[in-house]
Symmetry: C2
Subunit: 271 residues, 2 copies
């Protein structure tokens, strides 16, 4: 079974494309809505929360988890992979399980796409301050120039449904002005919520800059990973189950907008 | 000792005026920064978090706690007062302690100020959906007409330091347009963060509407309460201690802005 984890609803944009590209896999989505947003929390707290959520997904039979949340990927992935997973695997008789993130696939795609080697990254304060995108990009392309911008207003803006308003255009212009001065030719939307603003990002950045579609990139790279690693048995019924730590009704209502189709049933879990 | 509780930093605007009006009281401020914002959480989760924080303040010697957080006041005060406090008092040998909120004082002040009996309320989604302001206002002034507006973008806007930008003006105009159509002559800023936007709120609402200064109203009503209830011994050294569940450094940095003067020392606590 495949686990898709996000701090809230944003990861549902990733789930949608993953669902299409892996139609037969059994998927468990967990949104930690009770504790969202992770964006302005400290690294140690994000690590603790993410670990608790991954433990819940493993306990329910997941073998592979994708951290759809950029903040969780940026802040915790390495720590969980290096410190938490090895003893856990041993404890469970060398069982196969793993956690992957969204930062690496997006960084690889950006490096494949850039010509002038200047890459822009927008995200939450947590993602930007972690400098994880800079590290990943430079590890693939050592002379890359990476310019970052934290955009804390964009998550509530998308949750308000204001993507097509003049206010959205003004806020985006203000955030992108310092970034555009460096003329990046690729922009990474390092937060799952921002996909809803993709047309506006593309319009503001202009034709010379490719604004990556995060869900498409992540789903495509995940499908390639799964093909290379058939040992993660992801099931074959094509079932999707939704879990939340928060209010199931609110999850259903707001979540359906991010998922792009009606979510019929949501289970609340305690961690 | 007096406890001042908030989900994060916003309550520091209230602490500032309380500190001035009760110069000799010993005050313990607790910001639950690790789990902020409470604004879009479910009522049961806000109640659980608030109770945990109040327990921590009572355990450290507070006798009276003010919930500076509107969401916590709106969602939880009645439950805590009616269900949690009575057995707790008994358990501790009929000890004197109590919890008060900000909704009641603001509602009283609004009713004293209104002439046309139309009162506006702005706040987080949680505060607005709880309908607590409506209930309180109507219990004091039965034929009051209350118009509410949730403004989820304003907390991150203030945390970005964008209070004086054209973006702030546009966002406020968009939020206030439906509310202004009812011509309230008093506006309650039902979220501690919004005080930073007071001049803009006043400008947008116009001269015929009084926009209440939340910290002033709350501090003044608290001083009156304390005078009527000398049995809550609030100490006499005038000491202020800052506690946070989150990152002490970030609390110091962002908190000093809300408090209006430098915060020198912050202690992190686990709940």
């Amino acid at each position: 079974m495949l686990g898709v984890f996000d701090s809230g609803f944003g990861g549902l944009t990733v789930l949608r494309t993953v669902r299409n590209i892996l139609p037969t896999a059994d998927i468990l989505y967990l949104g930690d809505s009770a504790r969202t947003p992770y964006g302005n929390r400290s690294r140690s707290i994000v690590t603790q929360y993410t670990q608790e959520c991954c433990a819940a997904l493993f306990n329910r039979g997941c073998t592979l988890i994708i951290l759809a949340c950029n903040t969780a990927s940026a802040d915790t992935l390495r720590t969980l992979q290096q410190e938490w997973l090895p003893p856990l695997r041993k404890e469970r008789g060398d069982a196969m399980f793993n956690i992957i993130g969204v930062v690496r696939p997006l960084a690889e795609e950006a490096v494949e796409s850039t010509k002038n080697k200047c890459i822009g990254v927008v995200g939450t304060r947590g993602t930007v301050e972690s400098r994880t995108y800079i590290e990943e990009l430079v590890s693939v392309l050592p002379d890359a120039k990476v310019v970052q911008q934290a955009c804390p207003l964009l998550v509530p803006l998308v949750e308000e449904g204001w993507e097509r308003t003049p206010e959205a255009r003004r806020i985006l212009r203000k955030y992108l002005l310092p970034l555009k001065a460096h003329h990046p030719d690729v922009l990474i939307l390092g937060c799952t919520h921002y996909e809803a603003l993709h047309p506006l990002f593309q319009a503001k950045m202009g034709k010379r800059c490719t604004v990556l579609h995060t869900p498409d990139v992540v789903a495509r790279k995940l499908a390639m990973y799964v093909e290379r690693h058939p040992e993660y048995n992801l099931g074959n019924t094509g079932k999707t189950v939704f879990l939340t730590t928060g209010d199931p009704e609110r999850f259903q209502e707001l979540g359906s907008r991010f998922y792009g189709s009606q979510i019929d049933s949501v289970e609340r879990i305690e961690l």
